[in-house]
């Protein structure tokens, strides 16, 4: 399976990745090669097989009660934010 330039631009848009003009042909080629590798899966007969949902048989992800457990650490967590003001994360204006 081979991808073209438009496919890569569309995938990059869905993934919210800005690509430079020079990067696009590299991903056209790289992803096409990966999909050729993945096409080997077609050889396996999986008509009677359920998709694997967990790496350990019979296990499921555990749920916990929906209650607040942690302390309020907003100031600590926001130390890593690129831009904050009055405890709020700043982003470009969304609604005009």
């Amino acid at each position: 399976m081979s991808l073209n330039r438009r496919d890569i631009e569309n995938i990059a848009h869905l993934a919210r990745l800005a690509l430079s003009e020079a990067e696009i042909p590299l991903y056209v080629e790289g992803l096409s090669r990966i999909l050729a590798l993945v096409a080997e899966l077609d050889a396996a007969d999986t008509s009677q097989v359920e998709p694997m949902a967990h790496p350990l048989p019979g296990q499921r992800a555990r749920l916990r009660p929906d209650i607040v457990t942690g302390a309020d650490e907003r100031a600590l967590l926001q130390r890593n934010a690129p831009q904050v003001e009055a405890g709020l994360y700043l982003v470009p204006r969304v609604i005009e």
Binding site: R16, A18, V38, V49, M52, P55
Partner: protein, 487 residues
Amino acid sequence: MSALHLKTVAELASQLAARAVSSVELTRAFLARIEQHQAVSNAFITVTRDAALAEAARADARLAAGQGGPLTGVPIAHKDIFCTSGVRTTCGSRMLSEFVSPYDATVVARLRAAGVVMLGKTNMDEFAMGSSNETSYFGAVRNPWDTTRVPGGSSGGSAVAVAARLAPAATATDTGGSIRQPAALCGVTGIKPTYGRVSRFGMIAFASSLDQGGLITVDAEDAALLLRAIAGFDERDSTSVDLPVPDYAAALDQPLKGLKVGLLREFFDRGLDPQVEATTRAAIEVLRAQGAALREVSLPNLPLSVPTYYVVAPAECSSNLARFDGVRYGHRCENPLDLLDLYRRSRGEGFGPEVKRRIMTGTYVLSAGYFDAFYLKAQRVRQLISGDFTRAFQEVDVLVGPTTPTAAFELGAKTSDPVTMYLNDIYTIGANLAGLPAMSVPCGFAAGLPVGLQLIGPHFAEGRLLQVAYRYQRETDWHRRAPPGFA
């Protein structure tokens, strides 16, 4: 008596307990070695000198007061994928190059509580995506056995830190071979535990159904001691398994007589370097000489591991890495025009080429119209591979084979074609897809470069793998060899 840096964790711990050496002395010795070899090895992203010396002084005080535990005062390094409170945690990426974690990963917290001293954070492939440690934003790591060659990845910094004796042990993670492959290429011991055995809390996520934390050490005894400290239930990881943690070290020395060992036929197939094959087969003979019963075992679906992985892992990666939005933490572009521009440019600038390639592969296989054909198909094949392992373990106790198809390759040799690089992990990915514990053990050299013997066991059979590795290492000394330029 050999120099301190050539000793194992167990040997250092007994010297600390006997007060023959102090933790501050040990920590200084390893910090000096890190400094001496950093320019060539590039094994570390961050060295936490001052904090390490302060932790060492506290450990010495505890030891002096008779309050030390089995690991108190032992210095180790952490892969820079584990969050460390107050210390930069980069995951090898520009995206997190200035991220200071507000909390400790559970693995880090447990070792800290055991009195272990952190020397620093080791280099790695960006977001653990790579098999050569060449995708790190902080530059490639060099193999101490031949500095023109790669150390393997993604835990290349941890493997080199232990191989070059810059740290007696290091934490690491394994999603498709990222502990075992670099351990093999650097001549050290690596263990990837069963999925769910070690908490993933605070371990930056790549592919959540495959990621597992573990260790790189000099030998199996050290792996046993440290695994006991980091393993066990953690309510903060929803896939953590609530089973007691055995005393792995206590069971190491049981004889191998009667052990049923399966040779993985598919691992001795085309593509295996003849010298690596000969070295691996000689190692398996050492197990036979100790009374293990060998038989060949076939896992017919195993050759589909690599294509299965390159659907499942990128799919999970594209979902996990969606959190990097340039808003709450991580890299943010200059002067965004609008919110979409902020997302696109922050991510485009913050991620390197391999990470972008995997995010896009994952986005594609999960996109409308392709989900069934790619993602569900891969999860069905994953079920077949897992079933092959289940059947094999009805006949044998442990599966053995080479860890990698070749010894360490040259820097830059495989960076132009992603698929060529991905095929390095052809023997390691199966254990991740099936959630199984696996190890790599140094078993000799091919043209002067280390070779690893891989052991794979049933779920939660870490103790059995450690026992086999220990008994093998009792008969051999490959694991005690240090690279000449770093001895």
